[in-house]
Symmetry: C2
């Protein structure tokens, strides 16, 4: 087991009716900025619940944070935080709203010239406006981690940052708030949580049997409840397990003491930036190809995955690994998330291998994966197999 | 899944050499009281590592905290904290030292007449001296939870309390610091962590498949690495997995959204107070008897446990359950932790059923377990089967 440091102070308020509890979590008298996305919270009752919970706090709102939240949009919120003297940020939405709000929190207190440097130059985040999250889309884990991914419209960049100052102080996870999500977003959330788990699991053995089993617990649960919750969106129990799985997939726990990959995510971010696919769609495209390409490096863990998750015991080692990859592709496809670029009707998909590899090079990401072996030539190979 | 609130802000610093990191976790200039037990830390090098790490802090020490830490002893430390103006407590030891130090932290800031009321009358803990832990015995999980169990010599009581103010700010878990532990303490730690997990798992199905699997992950890992680490105390990987399993068994995570039992612990505390058995020894005695007695209530989970943990698929449901209970007893015995009172050479063991039930009644614990069905008559039945 590798040495590690683990710290996660986000208070999770999980279950039906928990939005009412937020008033007790925000300091009395604090001026709150409620941030949200496209306005679905005004249709599904969440906005009204938040409004009722904040009845004793002064508050204002900032809507319109996009999926793949944009720097340009977020900087308008930063100006509002400063001009209005906002003390607390309350993100109400999915991972994009949470990510965007973390950036607003950091940028509003940033003492450098240009907050974009937090993303582009890893400028240090020394403080942030305190924030909380009311989660309405189980997927990214952003509600209880330090990370955010932000896009810049003017340059087409999509970059990440993380800071302990950006840990949400609390996260409300009421599965009922997610019942009205479109199936595509639910399916994307399942794939996203699944691949988050994989980025921390599918590497090489690290004498960490507990961590392996914790990751496998999340994988098995997603495989079990994913189809259930997609078929029966109002099934509270299934959705609750999906929500909790997505949070635990990326709250730092399963990363403790083990190597991590993240090549699939890095390649996927560039595909979203270049071709506009949903984040989870890019992961479903890349992951199986990356596994086939890196099957020597990942041999032992792919075999373990085949056996423990899919119960595959027959055939040669190579056959078992291939069966597990095929099973994973079938799982994604069963959720309606396609695993090849061609199935998304992408224009000029044939150019993807060159374009995406070039984008990664331009961003300096030339040695991805747990061994640093996913270089531009490997990215081209992987994507050539996913057209 | 039940509603829940989860909050655990303890920073885990895990691995070789991490004691050196504590200096950065304690405010500069804070006056530190280092608390410890019987002095083993002065023989195994841990004291010297702590001393080196604290070279820039003013600090003093308080040794002699007992296994089953005593109120009378701890109140002497409270007096020291007050007279010396201590700002930070650093517990160096196992669960007893951590528990005792949490009580010192709360009692030193208690504004009532008698700090014993925190235990006996559930008096509110409104603040506590900040504390950190350097763990040298993996067992109780106390290093990253709010709980403490304290004994009072004058009355023979053993009572628990918990407060968020008593969360350690950090916990150093260096597996190497545990290499010199006597085998009995290592074995006790494995059993303790195993039964902690069971108190949160072996109840009834609660539509919480992820939580079930997380608990099962800890159980399987303990069954796998427990015998390894007992046989090869210097095997870093095995000990590291034991340490991390013990922490995760009782840091709040696997309790999220599920019913809990804790009857075994409540009965066990009284056995320690009455007969002087080690805590883990009492758990190994009680748990199998409690399961047999409550096998109707726990039927579904006992079956699940039999299948998933021990791979028992053959026989009637009752036979499978009995096999799993026997396997659990055999596991404890294989570690050298006996599962019947008679094997501990206890004087007047035959009186245990009456005496322990009477003690529980005197403390008001007359409806234990996840259904409140473990009443004094049931306790007598359970213990009569464990003589």
């Amino acid at each position: 087991m590798q040495n590690f440091s683990y710290y996660n102070p986000t208070r999770i308020l999980f279950g039906q009716g928990q939005i009412a509890a937020i008033a007790g979590q925000i300091p009395a008298g604090a001026k709150v900025l409620v941030t949200y996305g496209g306005g679905s919270i005004k249709k599904n009752g969440v906005y009204d619940q938040v409004k009722a919970a904040l009845k004793d706090h002064p508050w204002l709102e900032f809507g319109g944070i996009e999926p793949n939240p944009r720097y340009e949009t977020l900087m308008r919120a930063v100006a509002l935080v400063k001009s209005e003297g906002v003390d607390f940020l309350l993100a109400v939405g999915g991972g994009s709203v949470a990510d965007g709000t973390k950036f607003i929190a950091a940028a509003a207190r940033f003492d450098g010239a240009e907050p974009w440097d937090i993303l582009a130059k890893h400028a240090e985040v020394k403080s942030a406006v305190p924030l909380g999250v009311v989660l309405t889309l189980p997927a990214t884990g952003s509600e209880s981690n330090t990370f955010a991914v932000i896009s810049r419209e003017s340059t087409g960049d999509k970059l990440a940052f993380g800071s302990e100052h950006c840990y949400p102080q609390f996260a409300v996870l009421d599965p009922q708030t997610t019942f009205s999500l479109p199936p595509r977003q639910v399916a994307n959330g399942i794939v996203d949580a699944f691949v988050h788990t994989m980025e921390q699991y599918m590497t090489y053995p690290a004498e960490a049997p507990l961590q392996d089993r914790l990751a496998e617990s999340i994988l098995k649960t997603l495989i079990e409840v994913g189809p259930q919750t997609l078929a029966s969106p109002q099934d509270y129990a299934a959705r609750a397990s999906q929500v909790w799985s997505a949070t635990l997939a990326l709250n730092g726990l399963i990363a403790c003491g083990v190597p991590q990959d993240w090549a699939t995510h890095m390649i996927g971010h560039e595909i979203t930036a270049e071709f506009g696919l949903d984040h989870a769609q890019t992961l479903a495209v890349v992951l199986p190809g990356l596994w086939r390409n890196r099957r020597v490096e990942k041999h032992a863990k792919l075999l373990q995955y085949a056996e423990r998750i899919w119960g595959i015991h027959d055939g040669s080692e190579e056959e078992r690994i291939e069966k597990a990859i095929v099973a994973t592709e079938a799982f994604f496809e069963s959720l309606g998330v396609h695993t090849h670029l061609g199935l998304y009707g992408v224009k000029d998909a044939a150019l993807a291998p060159q374009k995406i590899a070039a984008r990664l090079e331009a961003h300096g990401f030339t040695k991805l994966g747990e061994h640093g072996s996913v270089m531009p030539a490997v990215v081209r190979e992987i994507l050539a197999s996913r057209l």
